[in-house]
């Protein structure tokens, strides 16, 4: 800044007059004079520069001052022609909202639908009302969304009937599960065939080698066959989705091996159907299979109904009374039991889903018979059969046993039963809560009943889960007299043996001499 002599003189005259304020004002006016070459003035530039330093607080600010000043001047050049448009990525919430918007649209052939015809999807809102009295539920808006999602499911897959089974919580996201009855047109591509094919391939490669390796005599324990679709643990099939509005995914049917493995592990769900289940004992399958196995266990353990609602199928000419029923029909003559009665004793509730046996199926199968058919070397197999004992058939409680027969575990009764309200028992519903599967609820108000599961999908383990111990190491060779080790005889023992042998020989020689003498 160059001061002309005239200005300097003016300043001195102002000093003499006194006010510093006027000095400051005139200096400020000088700063605010716009430059002749550009539109800027020094005052604004200094304000912006100091504001930038205040915001950014750079290290060694005094050294980078000139650079910052230049950058400011460069940045003030505005590009009026912007050819790039802002690309807005929709947030997760917005994408879900678009998908859920489909829930609210009518079906395309809405005009042809007759609203009086019974539709396959349940009246979830009515259930939600009663379940709220029982103290379980997902919130009214969520239930409404689930209702619409079930409607879409029934329409898209053409299911005659479906039911909301419940919700299983996971660490990354949760599963909402719908249950549907098996109809005869459904065929499933079984993935278990792949496992069997792998086993056959392994045994096949051994035969192709030029030097035959000694074949191991180990036979895999025979695989328990899966139950046919529509019976036992595979009676229903299940659809899952993470959020109502997202597409429903059908779960594969469950195999007994998966159920037995699921009984021994305690693993949480992540929310992704294809994530691996790492556990000991190893689980044969992915999270979709594990989820299906847990659903099967929970259904078998906690799906209950008022006694009398279902009746067993009466077959003509039934000879064996031990045959387990696996189907039951709705009893048309059911009149309803008052909720006060239902809330008083456990014997007014019955299981209407078959119990899963230790084998992993609902009906027992003798796996020993299968070995004869499958094995190549029948002689060996026949020998093994003679040695092995016949496996004992397993029995479970028959269908429609009442809950008072359920066994107590870990010193807690398996069920907790109460009325939903103590103040107004006249309008209350009976609420049944499972203690073995925390999260399983059932209610009954006389004519209506419902089961639901909302929880983490794990059984109550009492003091804590302890994993299975690995099996003991196998013996390398069978022990027998030719293989067992014996101690080498010590010198004294050898001496003794030799002495004893010599004595024997002497005695024999004497006997022979005596005989000769006699002769």
């Amino acid at each position: 800044m160059q001061r002309s002599g005239r200005d300097c003189g003016e300043m001195q005259r102002l000093d003499a007059d006194g006010t510093g304020a006027r000095q400051a004002a005139s200096f400020k006016a000088f700063l605010q004079k716009s430059s002749s070459r550009s539109d800027r003035n020094l005052y604004d530039h200094l304000v912006l520069l100091l504001a930038k330093i205040m915001d950014e607080r750079p290290d060694d600010a005094v050294d980078v001052l000139e650079d910052m000043s230049l950058e400011l001047k460069r940045a003030s050049f505005k590009d009026t022609q912007r050819s790039l448009r802002d690309h807005v990525t929709p947030s997760v919430g917005e994408r879900l909202a678009e998908q859920q918007l489909l829930l609210f649209k009518h079906a395309q052939d809405f005009n042809h639908e007759d609203p009086t015809v019974e539709t396959g999807f349940p009246n979830v809102n009515e259930s939600a009302f009663y379940l709220e009295q029982a103290g379980v539920g997902l919130g009214r808006e969520e239930m409404q969304r689930i209702l619409l999602a079930l409607k879409l499911l029934v329409e898209s897959h053409g299911l005659p009937q479906c039911r909301l089974w419940g919700k299983i919580l996971g660490t990354e996201s949760s599963y909402i599960i719908a249950e549907a009855e098996y109809t005869e047109g459904d065929e499933e591509q079984s993935t278990d065939e792949d496992l069997q094919e792998e086993e056959e391939e392994e045994s096949g490669t051994q035969e192709n080698e030029t030097d035959p390796v000694p074949r191991s005599t180990y036979l895999h324990p025979p695989m328990v066959p899966k139950e046919a679709l529509g019976t036992g643990a595979n009676r229903f099939f299940y659809f899952v989705c993470n959020e109502p509005g997202l597409p429903w995914v059908k779960l594969p049917s469950v195999s007994p091996a998966q159920i037995t493995a699921a009984r021994h592990i305690c693993k949480g769900f992540t929310g992704r159907l294809d994530s691996p289940v790492l556990s000991y004992p190893p689980f044969p399958g992915k999270e979709a299979n594990y989820l299906r196995a847990q659903i099967a266990r929970i259904s078998a353990g906690t799906q209950v109904s008022p006694s009398g609602f279902y009746q067993t199928v009466e077959e003509e000419g039934e000879e064996e009374e031990e045959m387990a029923h696996d189907q039951c029909l709705v009893n048309p003559e059911f009149e309803g039991v008052s909720s006060l009665e239902m809330a008083q004793s456990l014997s007014s509730w019955v299981h209407h889903i078959q119990h899963i046996l230790k084998q992993g199926r609902c009906t027992w199968v003798n796996t020993a018979m299968k070995v004869e058919e499958d094995s190549i070397e029948e002689e060996e197999a026949a020998e093994k059969d003679e040695q092995a004992d016949e496996p004992e058939p397993e029995y479970g409680p028959p269908l429609l046993t009442n809950l008072s027969q359920d066994a107590e575990m870990f010193h807690t009764p398996p069920w907790s039963l109460r009325l939903s309200s103590t103040i107004t028992p006249q309008h209350a519903v009976a609420v049944l809560r499972s203690n073995l599967w925390p999260g399983a609820f059932a209610y009954s108000n006389g004519k209506r009943f419902e089961n639901i599961y909302v929880g983490w999908g794990l059984k109550y383990t009492g003091q804590g889960y302890s994993p299975c111990v690995p099996p003991p190491p196998q013996k390398e060779y069978p022990s027998g007299p030719e293989v067992t080790e014996m101690l080498d005889p010590s010198v004294e023992e050898e001496e003794e043996m030799r002495m004893a042998l010599e004595e024997q020989q002497e005695v024999q020689q004497e006997l022979e001499e005596d005989e000769e003498d006699e002769n």
Binding site: S91, G135, L138, E141, E172, G268, S421, R433, P438, V454
Partner: protein, 272 residues
């Protein structure tokens, strides 16, 4: 969960499955007002529900001037009559850990007994006994210590050391609510002092005075999801199954509730 926000905040945590019946909610709204005036609390929270075999316990917590230290818990069997829970001492914690096992029975005067026979030649049986009321108090204390959650910035610590609600808390943004570092335990901090100084330099001391959730061991014991059509951030604890925390981003609404069996999940390492 703040009592004033109870009507709408129960919808946010309903995704965990356990909700209060209409009768319980209306009874709470009436009785908690009376409790607040009787005990002269500044704020009263509905803490949660512990499910017992025969009856359930409803627990409420009243806060005084200092939110961290002036805390009193009350319990009720029917949401109408509230009784004060005894304050927890170390001796009580030890008694409960020795004697109490299994589910809560639902009867506050039930006595748990645990017999330990000393085989040192004396052959005397030492009996540890504790009432269910004390077990309830200790359980509430443990859950608050290990699983209580507040978003960062919701509480401020004044110069005198008082912890109070932050009236100008605008809520976490959507991206901030996805990170576990922005949620903190509401308890006396334990791991705070061990942080290196360069990390501490970036904190605002009035807000960052609590332990952060991402430091919890084992990692993965919190499940962070966005529920209710992805509008609400919901945190669920896997250590205490049943504890649910909700926060609506960009609003000051937040709270946590415990509805569960009242038992620590000892199977957590197997579940992960």
């Amino acid at each position: 969960m703040d009592f004033n926000s109870l009507p709408y905040s129960l919808e946010f945590v309903a995704g965990s499955g356990c909700i209060l019946t209409l009768e319980e909610r209306t009874a709470l709204q009436t009785s908690l007002v009376i409790v607040k005036t009787n005990y002269k609390f500044q704020r009263i929270l509905f803490w949660g529900k512990i499910l017992g075999l025969q009856h359930d316990y409803f627990v409420a917590q009243g806060r005084g001037e200092d939110e961290m230290t002036d805390r009193k818990s009350l319990y009720s069997l029917n949401c109408v009559d509230w009784l004060l829970l005894p304050s927890v001492t170390d001796a009580m914690v030890e008694e409960v850990s020795k004697a109490a096992q299994g589910r809560f029975k639902g009867n506050p005067s039930f006595v748990y007994e645990h017999k330990v026979s000393q085989q040192e030649g004396k052959e005397q049986e030492k009996v540890f006994s504790v009432t269910e009321e004390k077990r309830l108090a200790v359980t509430v204390h443990h859950i608050d210590e290990e699983a209580s959650v507040v978003p960062r910035g919701a509480f401020i610590q004044s110069l005198r050391g008082l912890v109070q609600t932050n009236r100008s808390f605008g809520g976490l943004s959507e991206s901030e609510a996805r990170r576990l570092e922005n949620f903190m335990h509401f308890r006396k901090p334990k791991t705070l002092q061990k942080k290196p100084i360069p990390v501490k330099a970036e904190w605002a001391p009035a807000i960052d005075f609590l332990d952060v959730l991402s430091e919890d061991i084992p990692k993965g014991s919190w499940s962070l999801q966005f529920e209710c059509a992805r509008r609400v951030c919901v945190l669920r604890s896997l250590l205490w199954l049943g504890l649910t925390f909700y926060h609506v981003p960009m609003t000051p609404q937040h709270g946590y509730i415990y509805v569960g069996l009242g038992m620590k999940n000892l199977d957590l390492p197997f579940m992960l």
